[in-house]
């Protein structure tokens, strides 16, 4: 389909006729409408209100002007932190190896690194019945080594999971060694780092084997790679991780079936209220652990250090509860002390990059996640302090109809990809969905200077269906893409770009125009949680369609494979857009060929004309010529240089980049509520709390504690409160769960249901401040309902 003379792209309606109402033209991303030529103030005085002083209310992208990521072993990191000329700012993945105490100018923050699991030896004669297995597992936590980073915790949901409150009554202290026969643990190198030195070990005749599974690896196995594909909404929830950790070890078919059913209900939102949802989560955990084949007995913390020096330190940093400093939001909030913005950030990481750098099934190791998080944007990001997500490049718009629990007609001209081919075809008349999500997509130019079009937003859907749908179709199937896109493919029912909004951004006397597609996505998703629906299949691509098509062509022609497993199976290299010179030569040849032919994938033939395609390939060719790689994104940083050990990124300060300084700062130094009293007054339960939070003072922060009042400010902003409680009846079932109202004196009155049946309840509660659910202080009271 040719472009119009004005450079606008068209799409076709259901009959294939060009439809002007479907013009997607956010081609011209930047227009400077009022530019000072002689004297800006003259314009100010004679035209419109475009005056400004020095202050800039919006600044694109994030604080550092350059980010340098280096692989450093712990000893090297310790040395680099004290470098006189170019000190390290932050070290990811673990602690540096200091000789003696850490230097005074360093600070550290802990996050959940891994879950420690105990598995029973099915060959052990002592472990053949359930009671023996449960008894052994119950004792295993007590055998853990007494190390500062190891926490004995015999339950799969930890205080670093946002759903901890829902299970806090079940979590018990590790049992001391009992009168049971002493356990024998498997002797291995891994075990020795986890076990107390005084336990029995044996190489073959063992009862219990300990293992350690990093939560990020667990998420990867669950299909959440944090690369180009959306992660499942529940990625950081304890019950979700427990399912993927323990389900493979469940031996009873009935238990496996029951666990699958409960998971299905939880992920489809099949529950009527919070109490039922909580009961389902508890039932799932109970089912997974009932046979005592495998269980979580503890967890390990990751302690990461950052520089706090007055000049060379970091003023503003946050930590993700589970990925630590290796989080996209961390990179988007980190600020150097010597700079209001800008500066050269030096990041060390304790691993060498091993995974290939491709956004579809690469970037799977810790350095890869960090590099992708630096160079590219995703539609949403996990919030560091809970298990919700925050908008980045897609905003959820309030729709015109309630999407929950009823059928919504899908416009016949909405598009849906076809399995195997990926062809985008109209949904057709008479189709319905159970959910509709309306998005405003924050578009911006790609780094090869191509401007986004409809094809860029739609092509990831096509690719997911083409490469993820049919495992029997050998040439176009990749198991990693299949796993990562399973949720999307299961639930997507249609997508329609309805218009493009223009928003003028005025910065002093300059005006920039942001063009944002408004997109409807139709899903079969029953949840009433609009954010959860929005995470299933957001209309977003961090890379342009022509780079996706290049990767596809490279795989189809046997140059490489998307994923590591498929590369091994096919005997070809793992596709790398940057670091494999041999692949790059072949990519260049493909690009030149496609620039000649105007190649575009079959799925895009109705959306992209050959001339437009030619222009895209030519732009990409120019980019590769200049930059020496094909990692083209529309993200906040650009890859500038790299080696086997490091990568350097330059900031994108184009004012058409739509996310700016300070966007994620609120997640840094999260406040915490400390419960000072829980009391029953008639039928009410009242909770009093103090707030503990960091106060900014010059370039530092000081922790203060004070009674939480409505007017309590955290720096300059009021503290948002989210009270939660769970009422558990004598039989262990959750009878009610909910929030609380705020009383004038600052206390919280738990919103217990008026018809809570008479009886005794264990009531557990926590108050989350500014969304911080991590390591909450939990209040408990025995409540008598009359």
């Amino acid at each position: 389909m040719p472009s119009s003379p004005e450079g606008m792209a068209f799409c076709r309606d259901a009959t294939g006729v060009a439809n002007r109402s479907h013009m997607f033209a956010w081609k011209l991303l930047i227009t400077i409408q009022a530019r000072a030529l002689v004297a800006a103030a003259l314009i100010c005085a004679t035209t419109s209100l475009v005056c400004a002083a020095h202050e800039i209310s919006y600044f694109p992208s994030f604080y550092p002007q350059e980010i340098r990521i280096e692989s450093l072993d712990p000893a090297a990191a310790a040395r680099e932190f004290v470098s006189k000329t170019d000190p390290l700012h932050v070290y990811l993945g673990g602690a540096p190896r200091f000789t003696g105490q850490p230097p005074a100018h360093l600070k550290s923050i802990a996050s959940l690194k891994s879950l420690i699991v105990a598995g029973v030896n099915p060959q052990s004669s002592r472990m053949q019945n359930r009671d023996a297995r449960c008894g052994a597992i119950g004792q295993a936590a007590a055998a853990l080594a007494k190390q500062p980073d190891i926490v004995a915790h015999p339950f799969p949901v930890t205080p670093y999971h946002a759903d901890y409150l829902s299970h806090a009554d079940i979590v018990s202290a590790p049992k001391a060694a009992t009168s049971l026969a002493p356990l024998t643990f498997r002797a291995s190198k891994v075990q020795s780092s986890l076990l107390s030195p005084d336990v029995n070990v044996h190489a073959t005749n063992w009862d219990i084997e300990l293992g350690e599974v990093e939560t990020m690896e667990l998420n990867r196995q669950a299909g959440a790679n944090f690369n180009a594909w959306p992660a499942p909404p529940w990625t950081k929830e304890g019950w979700f991780q427990a399912f993927h950790l323990l389900r493979p070890s469940v031996t009873e078919a009935k238990s496996r079936e029951r666990a699958d059913t409960i998971l299905d209900r939880l992920t489809h939102g099949e529950f009527k209220d919070l109490a039922e949802e909580t009961n389902l989560q508890r039932d799932l955990l109970g089912t997974l652990t009932a046979g005592c084949e495998r269980a979580v007995v503890g967890y390990r913390l990751r302690t990461e250090f950052h520089n706090d020096d007055f000049s060379n330190g970091i003023e503003h940093i946050l930590v993700d509860s589970q990925s630590g400093f290796n989080s996209p939001v961390v990179l988007r909030a980190v600020k150097l002390k010597d700079f209001f913005w800008n500066g050269w950030l030096r990041v060390g990481i304790n691993e060498r990059p091993a995974a290939a750098w491709n956004p579809l099934a690469g970037f799977t190791d810790a350095p890869g996640r960090l590099i992708w998080a630096t160079v590219a944007d995703n539609a949403f990001y996990p919030i560091p302090t809970n298990s919700r997500w925050v908008s980045n490049r897609a905003e959820i718009r309030q729709g015109d109809e309630s999407s929950a629990q009823r059928s919504i007609p899908i416009p016949p001209d909405a598009l849906i990809p076809q399995p195997r081919t990926g062809s985008l075809v109209p949904v057709g008349a008479g189709k319905g969905a159970t959910a509709k999500v309306l998005y405003r997509v924050l578009a911006s130019a790609f780094q090869d200077e191509t401007v986004p079009e409809a094809a860029d937003l739609l092509y990831p859907y096509a690719l997911a269906y083409r490469w993820g749908a049919d495992e029997n179709k050998d040439s176009t199937y990749d198991p990693d893409i299949s796993l990562a896109t399973r949720l999307m493919r299961e639930r997507l029912r249609g997508v329609k770009i309805i218009k493009v909004e223009e928003i003028a951004l005025r910065v002093a006397d300059l005006t920039f125009t942001h063009r944002s597609p408004i997109v409807e996505v139709y899903l079969n998703n029953l949840t009433s949680d609009e954010q959860q629906s929005a995470l299933i299949a957001p209309p977003w691509s961090a890379v342009p369609w022509h780079v996706l098509a290049l990767m596809e062509a490279a795989v189809e022609r046997g140059i490489a494979a998307f994923s590591e497993s498929e590369a091994k199976r096919r005997g070809v290299p793992w596709l790398d857009l940057v670091r494999d010179p041999a692949q790059l030569v072949k990519f260049r040849a493909l690009i030149k060929e496609f620039a000649q032919t105007g190649y575009r994938p079959a799925a895009l033939e109705t959306l992209v004309g050959p001339e437009t395609a030619k222009a895209r390939w030519q732009m990409l060719d120019k980019f590769v010529e200049e930059k020496g790689h094909v990692l083209v994104t529309n993200g906040p940083y650009r890859l500038k240089s790299w080696s086997a050990e490091s990568a350097v990124f330059d900031v994108n300060r184009e004012f058409t980049y739509p996310v700016g300084l300070g966007t994620f700062n609120g997640f840094a130094y999260p406040p915490r509520a400390l419960i000072t009293n829980v009391e029953q007054a008639d039928n009410r339960v009242l909770v009093a709390v103090d707030a503990e939070f960091a106060v900014k003072e010059q370039r530092d922060r000081r922790i203060v504690r004070m009674p939480l009042r409505r007017e309590t400010l955290r720096d300059t902003l009021p503290i948002q409160t989210m009270p939660r409680y769970v009422a558990i009846s004598a039989d262990g079932r959750v009878a009610a769960a909910g929030g609380a109202t705020r009383l004038p004196d600052g206390r919280f009155n738990l919103s217990l249901p008026p018809k809570l049946p008479a009886g005794a309840y264990t009531l557990i509660t926590a108050i989350f401040l500014d969304g911080n659910t991590i390591n909450p202080q939990i209040g408990r009271i025995q409540y008598q309902s009359k």
């Binding site: 000072a36 004297a39 800006a40 103030a41 003259l42 314009i43 100010c44 005085a45 004679t46 209100l49 475009v50 005056c51 400004a52 002083a53 020095h54 202050e55 800039i56 209310s57 919006y58 600044f59 694109p60 604080y63 002007q65 350059e66 007055f310 000049s311 010597d338 700079f339 209001f340 913005w341 800008n342 500066g343 005025r506 910065v507 002093a508 006397d509 300059l510 330059d650 900031v651 300060r653 184009e654 004012f655 700016g660 300084l661 300070g662 966007t663 700062n665 609120g666 106060v695 900014k696 003072e697 010059q698 370039r699 000081r702 400010l713 720096d715 300059t716 902003l717 009021p718």
Partner: protein
């Protein structure tokens, strides 16, 4: 204007002072917190006094907004500790994030007045916002004192005849003129000027006013290089080397904030500060602790013409000493010009209410309060603030100074013994001077006034 005077005489006429002296002489007035304080007259309601304070709470300009809110909170806490204004009405502040954008800010101002029923509105940093908010405040009849938003355009065009709106910051043109006067005073033989300015209105304004004033003060002065880094530039190398290659006597800049820090750190690598003198309108126009000790010493480091916490030093100006001590005690940091502005805005309002109460009894209406604000001389940490009755603009002596490292602070400061002050009335257009579009098309009234009335010194 072909009148010829010598430079020293003219600078004396302007009232330029250099050194540690305090501000220019005006009537004796007490410090902010103590100015007027006697038993109120008549019946005073004890309902809270609702204030709206809009400032940048997020985004890059939060480096200015945060000190503003801190200054406001400090003043409110002081007033409330004494029972409130007139001993009865405690202040309740509703904050709004100015980063929401001009249109949203206008809506928020209306909401604050119509839904929250605020009694007074204050704050506002951005010059893009004051011209939009000023007319709305007038329409709503809402007493408003802008802490900043310093564009000349507010009074030149947007609200040419204000009744309810006031502003206490110096106007933007003063930045360039102050810098020019300071540079001419300090380096009178420097004739070759290289410029590096951000390529938007502030940079143009600074360039225009500096160049005009400097050429009046230094005969034969010429612009030898212009660099206009695009907004968002992180690599200033080309502009630094271009300026240096012109062999200037002075490099003058209005690059601000994180851009300025990136620029000066890059300039250090090139030895730029050793090749020429350096003068800035706004290098220190941020929170004091923000400037590192690697910043070059001895450069003219402007503070947006308003206030720097080290001046007047010691006991020379007790109002400053007291303010800095109180601010530091409350926030464990040092105030900047936004802190000073927001703090004294509230105390100035309190003083106006107390004075009006003496005249009218009871809680005075807006008209009575406005009548007390107009023409008020008010002692602030920065010196005397005079509210001009005709345009409701606050005038403080302009101030700039020289960067210096001292042991007492872990950051670089302005040397309190080398401060330069200029009575603001001598570098801004007087009342009634034609506004742009009324007889001239110069960028500002002040620009036209300087062009037309300042002599070319010999």
């Amino acid at each position: 204007m072909d009148q010829k005077v010598d430079r020293r005489s003219f600078l004396n006429q302007l009232g330029v002072t250099v050194g540690a002296a305090a501000a220019s002489a005006v009537p004796v007035i007490g410090p902010a917190e103590a100015q007027t304080a006697s038993a109120p007259k008549g019946k005073i309601p004890d309902t809270p006094l609702k204030m709206g304070h809009m400032t940048f709470l997020t985004g890059p300009a939060a480096v200015l907004g945060e000190p503003s809110l801190k200054g406001h909170i400090l003043a409110a806490e002081e007033i409330n500790a004494k029972g409130g204004i007139l001993g009865k009405r405690k202040i309740e502040t509703i904050t709004a994030d100015e980063a929401a954008g001009t249109d949203a800010n206008v809506k928020e101002l209306r909401r604050m007045k119509l839904s929250e029923k605020i009694d007074m509105f204050t704050g506002v940093i951005s010059s893009g916002n004051t011209p939009a908010l000023g007319p709305v405040a007038e329409e709503l009849g809402l007493l408003t004192i802008f802490v900043d938003g310093c564009t000349d355009f507010l009074w030149d065009k947007a609200v040419p005849n204000p009744k309810f709106t006031f502003r206490i910051t110096n106007i933007q043109s003063a930045d360039g003129v102050t810098c020019a006067v300071a540079a001419a005073q300090t380096w009178p033989t420097a004739k070759k000027i290289a410029h590096i300015h951000p390529d938007y209105s502030y940079g143009r304004n600074a360039f225009d006013h500096f160049t005009l004033a400097y050429k009046k003060l230094v005969p034969g002065a010429e612009v030898v290089s212009e660099g206009w880094p695009k907004l968002g530039t992180t690599d200033f190398t080309a502009h630094i080397t271009k300026a240096m290659s012109a062999n200037p006597d002075i490099i003058m800049s209005s690059v601000w904030g994180g851009d300025y820090v990136a620029m000066y750190k890059q300039a250090l690598r090139y030895g730029m500060f050793n090749k020429a003198k350096f003068a800035s309108t706004i290098a220190f126009g941020v929170a004091p602790h923000a400037i590192g000790k690697d910043h070059p010493e001895g450069v003219i480091a402007g503070v947006h013409s308003n206030y720097y916490f080290t001046y007047p030093a010691g006991n020379r100006w007790p109002a400053n000493k007291t303010f800095v001590e109180k601010y530091h005690k409350r926030w464990n940091e040092y105030p900047n010009f936004q802190s000073d502005g927001a703090y004294h805005t509230l105390h100035m309002y309190r003083t106006a209410v107390e004075k009006a109460n003496k005249l009218t009894g009871g809680w005075p209406d807006e008209e009575a309060i406005i009548s007390q604000l107009e023409g008020m001389y008010f002692e602030t940490a920065a010196g005397y603030l005079y509210i001009r009755p005709d345009n409701h603009q606050g005038y403080k002596d302009a101030v700039t100074g020289f960067s210096k490292n001292v042991d007492a602070y872990p950051f670089q400061i302005l040397d309190p013994n080398r401060m330069i002050t200029i009575p603001i009335r001598n570098i801004t257009a007087p009342p009634g001077w034609p506004k742009p579009g009324s007889g001239h098309n110069d960028p500002t009234s002040t620009f036209n006034w300087i062009k037309e009335t300042w002599p070319q010194v010999a």
